[in-house]
Amino acid sequence: MKPESNPAGDILSFRATLDGVEHEVPYTQGDALLDCMLADGLDPAFQCMDAHCGTCMVKLRHGEVEMRKNKVLSQRDLAEDYVLLCQSIPLSADVWVNCDE
């Protein structure tokens, strides 16, 4: 997968599958994936935006993210590569999340 970053290493975009359609979502430094998806006009499921409801849990299919906090994903969820969109900051330029799983 082609890395989406500039020569300085800033992450410029990530991929998100939503309702069966794959999107390349522009990434704003410091924002969580959910913020960027909403800014791009996408409609992923979410509610609390505070890591406790679990609505925005999605599968991380590729790349690395770091969650600011997690109050709802279990050890099993994490082992199965679930992450919270509202808390995830990409650490690599090749992040791909599947919102349909």
């Binding site: 409609d43 509610q47 679990g54 349909d100």
Partner: protein, 287 residues
Amino acid sequence: MLVAGSVVVEENRPVSKMQVRSNKPGVDMSKIGTLESVWRYPVKSMRGEQVDEVFVAYTGVMGDRLYAISSSQAPPEFPWHTNREQEEFVLYSASYKNHATTLKPPAMEAAFKEALNPPYPSADAFALEIKTPAGATLDVDDPAFLESLRDKSEGELRLHFTQKNAVDCRPLSLFSRQTLAQLEQETGLVLDKRRFRANFYMNWDRAGGFYENDLVNRRLKVGDRLEIMVRELDPRCKSITIDPDTAETQPRILKHIARKHNGFAGVYAAVLTEGTVKPGDEICLLD
């Protein structure tokens, strides 16, 4: 002879508080549905049990969420370790050793006659047995019970007991057969109502789901005595994604409710007048 409301009172004769507190004349109680089943969850987040007839106090269904597990890793405002952090919770079932004594307060009728709040039996009347997914039967305060949870939890776990009902938000949660049917139709999934962990499952007389949403801030009478007020919509979380028989998760259910129903399914209610309820009780609208 005095007439007070719908009660005829003879002069110079003592009148009990209950005689004065009768239905006001002209209050129309229209039946809107039937109570299909009543559930309680002795241990917060663990498997619930259906009951035949049970007392409902201001704090909720008698015996509901009297026990809860806390975690040292949880925030102080919600210290509980739940099925969201450990899905297998839903596979643990709990039953009160003295089942009959945990359904109604012992002096309930006498207390009602005097318009008093019936006292509960002492804590030891609520001794509880847990059946683990591995098939072991343990007393709830047996250290082996918490030990069986520890390998999948972070932080130190502690068992709590309260007669205040350790509910999340409100004493009662209500969910209807019609709302379940609508969600099944919308998602194409067969949904077990137990995912929604309600106290009352209702069967409305009208078709269509989410009718209970229209009842917010309205009073209902359930059965002969219980009066409740629907206070707010029930915001859903990961808990409803957990299959009650397998503990497998299906995030799609919560995502659907978030996108199509603003995250709400079912309602919460407060108790205005205590009473007992049983399946088949009529539900009437008071307002």
